[in-house]
Symmetry: C2
Subunit: 359 residues, 2 copies
């Protein structure tokens, strides 16, 4: 190996440029400052971010933490040449994950890894994270960027997020209050959110040979492939926050990897199952397209994709009218998509041809 | 593109196997259970991990959070076919980052990304994380694994970590107490820790043509290249924890990316600089080898590598004897490597030839 070129440091020649990283860090600091909330005691640049939670009125503070990535939605962002949206997806995903336990987000940290961090791409990624943080009232408290030459494919970026939320122990939602007869209220998703991209990409790009700018065949909304694939992962915080203390809200399930099939059982006590009724909501056209063109079993569709439902609220039937009304007043659509009933823990899909018989 | 093979789901054929992931998750749950501390309220598998901090005697609780990766030390782990050590590196790195602000770690979350998650590799990675968590008394509260086919090079793994610690506001270490005359106590590192791997790999493997099993030429300790490169990132928690409340401990600086040059100034108030004296500690042979064979400027060496110092304690000279004694009693080596003095904020390296003149 030859010596590093004159004027270029050995480390830069090995693929890592600390000075360029520091300039990028300045842009990140400005973005982080746009997300500051009253609890923030520090700026990015110290070793760790400092946050003083407001514990007023919280009898027994419990921290709820979650880590997530956005999967190969990043590959779609790269194809589209637009890394500005996936940061919001990530924050919203993480915020939903603590929300379903009853917690409100306090702060967020991100990690961006790449073979080479291009300043504009990095600013787009972190800009999306900061936008998501602002929308959720959550501080971007810190993060890490890593240049790992030869580790990532050129142009690829990894994006990982961590959120910490706070809930009073008596207000934790953990499914223990779920009972037979509870209604499953489905809150619509905006698209794939952040799950199932490997399969969706294979079907759309390889099997069907589509490009990002092509329209989804037969889609009544005439969406383009890229537009649908990059549709944001929705945050349900604004809609559900006013209901977290409502005694009729028994549980929340975030529909992520594993779909309704794997996520609903997480909030079901033993001896209860979720009966989800086909036809109770309209499965968005792009999911039906994926199923048909990918020749995917319906059972698998419900484990890989959210099928149009991004969040499920498990609601006491006595509170259904009020909860529905309050969601509607907040502009949040919600549809009854099934019921909780006695049975082995799991999800049973009812085709709507026969009445449930308790089996 | 042909249909998925019989008996194999479409998603599995697209490179993601949810069932295999769930089996891997069972192993991860067992590992996480080995790290449980009294604050843990949840098991991995819920949407977020729940942790109830013990706030007894804490007047004003402040959370300190940090995110990190282990850089291309992962590439060395892969070459060595051993992913069992990098998890500990990651936890120790994160723990040090909150420790230097005066905080003790509460919990940790990890993220493992790969093109394909091999169960044994995943268990080795998370096993290392769990070991690190146990050693630091920190719960592994949750995490995320992601299979991203085509995104990572086959066999490569990304590992990201996130720690949350707790400190009483009055006990935060932020450098504000640092004063002229303070002594810099250097705590030895065990090797590269987690920084400078891209350059070190280039010099050792490409320029010098060495392999992992070769001995480091001229090393008095006769270490092998792989042994030195995979030496653990040390946690300084056990050594420094008893001193966090000591009024003579003015600041701590974790020597990570940017070296002494960029990390010491983070705890220096304006108008103060750190004078680091060459010869006050012995720079370990492998760093000198990297400098010579890589033809790296000394200035750059101190920005890319820790040069044998993993942590710096900034200590009131009046407390130096007692702090040194208590570190020694705890088995922690520490050496005075310099002083704080008036001057532009930054680090000045004193070659030991002349007395400092305040310039």
């Amino acid at each position: 190996m030859s010596d590093p070129p004159p004027g270029k440091s050995a480390y830069a020649a090995s693929g890592v440029d600390i000075d360029a990283q520091e300039r990028g860090l300045e842009r990140i600091k400005r973005l982080a400052r746009s997300t500051v909330t009253p609890g923030v005691l520090s700026e990015i640049g110290l070793f760790g971010g400092l946050f003083r939670p407001d514990l007023t009125g919280v009898a027994e503070p419990v921290l709820v933490a979650s880590a997530d990535g956005v999967g190969t939605k990043l590959a779609v962002a790269r194809m589209a040449g637009d890394f500005s949206t996936v940061g919001r997806d990530l924050v919203n995903h993480c915020v939903n994950d603590v929300l379903v336990q009853g917690a409100l987000p306090l702060f967020f940290l991100d990690y961006v890894g790449a073979g080479k961090l291009e300043p504009d791409q990095l600013a787009a990624l972190v800009g999306g994270v900061a936008a998501g943080c602002r929308e959720n009232g959550c501080a971007l408290l810190g993060g890490e960027t890593a240049e790992m030459p030869g580790f990532y494919q050129p142009g690829d970026y990894e994006l990982v997020g961590f959120v910490v939320g706070l809930v009073d122990r008596a207000r934790i939602l953990d499914g223990s209050r779920v009972a037979a007869g509870d209604v499953l209220l489905g809150l619509p998703s905006a698209g794939l959110h952040t799950n199932g991209y490997s399969l969706a990409r294979r079907i759309l790009f390889e099997t069907m040979g589509l490009g990002l700018r092509d329209r989804l065949p037969g889609d009544p909304q005439r969406r383009r492939v890229g537009e649908w694939l990059l549709a944001p992962h929705l945050s349900y915080l604004a809609a559900l926050r006013p209901l977290l203390a409502h005694p009729g809200l028994h549980a929340l399930a975030h529909v992520t990897g594993g779909g309704l099939t794997d996520n609903l059982p997480r909030v079901l006590p033993a001896g209860l199952q979720a009966e989800v009724r086909f036809g109770s909501w309209e499965i968005p056209h792009p999911f039906r397209l994926l199923q048909e063109k990918g020749d995917v079993e319906l059972e698998e569709m419900f484990r890989v994709f959210n099928m149009g439902i991004g969040m499920v609220a498990v609601v006491d039937p006595a509170a259904l009218a009020e909860v529905s009304k309050r969601l509607a007043e907040g502009g949040q659509r919600a549809l009854p998509i099934g019921l909780v009933r006695a049975g082995d823990r799991g999800v049973v899909y009812d085709l709507g041809l026969t009445e449930p018989d308790g089996d």
